[in-house]
């Protein structure tokens, strides 16, 4: 775990806090869904926790992210408050989007979560627009586009990277390569040896990094974000990772290689990060325990808030379609 761009201790702990918040929330999401208290199609991001944690600590409050249906980790790492997040997933009127968007479409401008899309590839062109606005206005904001390996094969990827390159937009394309798009293995769908190889066709930096290694991921994110912020244009980061719970929570996983998932789970990146922090003297067991306890309490409150909140009224169907409420 060495790098030229090493995070300081405070940053390391901040990363850990974000990553473990992803992990703990995910555990609770799955438990609550299993319990039947919340019904939701859930695209668990567990296993990919480190990536957005490492990205997020390099962002300012002014920066933007666009993410995807598998994006709860990106939101939690970015700091979306848990109560409205949980309430949204539960379809409650107290949710970020009044229950109208749902888990796949969470928006939270206060923390820079501008768009969450359910359409593969579509986070990228829109992230360009956020970056373009910042560029035109002379702001130092950066936009992050999160997406998967499968998404690197759809047209929007290509159009977005080309446009960002031609216009030198302050955007970072973060591909979370978990080896599968739904049930299809990387090599059956993706012709690139590495997705980052595609960067050359746009004359932008392309880097493949172990997304489960906090220091490497931090360094890659920092380099790209600094570059974007300083007017150097876009970067394509391919962060290698794995999703622990298949495409959608409840998947049979029959399409995976035997033992593949178990091996990945045995190398849980959040657990490894924790061990590393303690072993290297960055934190004590007690410190991390405290951190985790606080998060757990926040989650308790968020779940309670979500479950006890009311559902939206049918009149909401007429609202937010246009600026003016529709009369039916």
């Amino acid at each position: 775990m060495a790098s030229t761009q090493a995070p300081d201790r405070r940053t390391l702990l901040d990363m850990y806090r974000r990553a473990t918040a992803v992990k703990q929330n995910d555990e609770r999401f799955r438990a609550v869904i299993k319990s039947g208290k919340i019904t939701a199609t859930y695209y668990s991001p567990r296993g990919q926790d480190i990536i957005p944690a490492a990205v997020s600590v390099n962002l300012t409050d002014q920066d933007y992210i666009c993410t995807i249906y598998r994006g709860i980790h990106d939101m939690i790492a970015r700091g979306v408050p848990l109560k409205p997040l949980w309430a949204e997933i539960a379809g409650k009127v107290t949710g970020t989007c009044k229950g109208k968007g749902g888990a796949m479409h969470i928006t939270h401008p206060a923390t820079g979560v501008m768009v969450t899309t359910g359409v593969v590839g579509s986070s990228m062109p829109i992230a360009n627009g956020l970056a373009m606005a910042a560029q035109i206005r002379g702001e130092k904001r950066v936009a992050i586009a999160y997406f998967g390996d499968g998404a690197s094969n759809i047209g929007a990827f290509h159009e977005a990277l080309n446009l960002a390159a031609v216009w030198k937009l302050p955007v970072v394309f973060v591909c979370q390569n978990n080896g599968y798009g739904e049930h299809t293995r990387y090599e059956l769908a993706t012709s690139a040896a590495k997705i980052s190889d595609r960067a050359q066709g746009y004359q932008i930096p392309g880097v493949t990094v172990d997304g489960n290694e906090p220091l490497a991921m931090y360094a890659a994110a920092k380099t790209a974000i600094d570059r974007a912020r300083e007017g150097g244009g876009p970067t394509l980061i391919e962060a290698l990772t794995f999703r622990f719970y298949g495409h959608v929570f409840g998947d049979a996983d029959a399409y995976m290689a035997k033992g593949e998932k178990e091996a990945a789970m045995a190398r849980d990146p959040v657990v490894r990060f924790r061990v590393w922090l303690i072993e290297n003297g960055h934190a004590t067991e007690a410190q991390l325990k405290d951190m985790e306890t606080v998060i757990e309490r926040d989650i308790d409150e968020a779940v309670e808030f979500a479950l006890s909140s009311p559902v939206p009224d049918a009149a909401e169907l007429s609202r937010d379609v246009f600026a003016t409420e529709l009369t039916r």
Binding site: T39, A40, T41, G91, K92, V93, C97, G99, K100, G101, G102, A103, M104, H105, T117, G118, V119, V120, G121, G150, A151, N153, I154, G155, A156, G181, E182, H183, T184, R185, L188, A189, T190, H247, A252, A254, Y255, V311, P312, D313, A314, E316, L317, S318, V321, L326, R328
Partner: protein, 336 residues
């Protein structure tokens, strides 16, 4: 599923699978392509194509990258030279990334080539509210395609219809868009007669009646039948027509029915405004204006994206009570 089993009931997923199986077996030009359709990918996200790549090989049942333009382009190119591809666009909302291929190419190549080429392509897609998939995964967009010259639009309401209509689509010499209802996949119904095609362009009078004609298709057809059954007990005799083929639709059957009943209600899950119901209503009015005992009425989703929250989703989908109330109000309008 082997022919010898011949089950009495079947759900739509099984019926679709059986139709694909039969089509692949009977014509070497039939191929399937789409995301995850192969067995190494578990035969699709809902398993509609399960077993088929194992049976017919990976060359004929092809899992693709997530690239709907590439999928449609490959299907169109192959169709032009005589194959009969069945291409899956996983969810109907994802047709939005392949509209150029579908509309500017598949639908138009016969005409633009002066009939030299044609595109015997079937596009399978699923959609429908009810599963909490929210605004980008649940739209019924059939009106767009119905408005597009050169493509047929088909939506089955039962497993048996799914089987028979899908076979007809695959054998048809024109591009067909075949729309499956996701939440309805697992509802069992009478099994189809093996090998029996259901003709395209012909509506099905599911229930004969004298008082009101209800026209629908896809999942809401079943809602309409349920309402009709209930109303029968109150002495309201509802004729229910399943369009089966939305475009070009069977005008004759509808007009014949409405000419008899003098009243019509059109029901679909798609947004009502500028939906398929508008065309049908306009057509009925054009032909039967004087015979109508009350204005044609339409039921469809309100003008909004499909909402996520169950509470809202329930309010979004045309309900039995809304349909019942529309039928009753047709009856109570003074006859003229």
């Amino acid at each position: 599923m082997s022919a010898s089993e011949s089950p009495k009931t079947m759900n739509t997923l099984q019926a679709v699978n059986l139709a694909l199986d039969d089509a692949l077996a009977s014509d070497p030009n039939v191929i399937l392509l789409g995301e995850d359709v192969g067995d190494r990918q578990a035969g699709g996200v809902v398993g509609a194509t399960k077993g088929l790549s194992s049976k017919y090989g990976d060359a004929r049942v092809r899992s693709t990258p997530i690239a709907e333009q590439a999928i449609m382009g490959a299907a169109i190119g192959a169709a032009i030279v005589g194959m009969r591809p069945v291409a899956e666009i996983m969810l109907m909302n994802f047709t939005t990334v392949a509209m150029d291929m579908i509309v500017n190419h598949a639908a138009k190549l016969r005409f633009m080539s002066g009939g030299q080429t044609h595109v015997p392509l079937t596009i399978r897609t699923m959609t429908g509210a009810g599963f909490g998939n929210g605004g980008q995964h649940s739209d019924y967009l059939e009106a767009w395609f119905a408005h597009t010259a050169g493509i047929k639009v088909v939506a089955p309401s039962t497993p048996a219809d799914a089987y028979g209509l899908l076979l007809s689509c695959i054998e048809d010499d024109d591009p067909c868009l075949f729309i499956e209802n996701l939440p309805g996949y697992w509802t069992p119904g009478p099994a189809p007669m093996r090998g029996q095609r259901i003709p395209l362009g012909k509506a099905n009078v599911v229930r004969a009646g004298r008082d009101v004609t209800v026209v629908s298709y896809a999942r809401t057809l079943n809602t309409c039948v349920a309402v009709a059954d209930r109303l029968a007990k109150d002495g309201v005799d509802v004729e229910v027509i399943d369009l089966r083929t939305i475009a070009p639709f069977d005008e004759a059957t509808i007009l014949e029915s409405v000419a008899r009943t003098g009243r019509a209600v059109i029901v679909h899950e798609a947004v009502k405004s500028f939906g398929v119901g508008a065309e049908i209503a306009a057509r009925i009015n054009e032909h039967l204006h004087e015979q109508l005992k009350s204005p044609v009425t339409r039921i469809g989703a309100p003008l909004c994206p499909v909402p996520f929250s169950k509470a809202l989703e329930n309010a979004y989908i045309p309900s039995e009570s809304a349909i019942e109330e529309a039928i009753r109000s047709r009856m109570s309008r003074k006859s003229r």
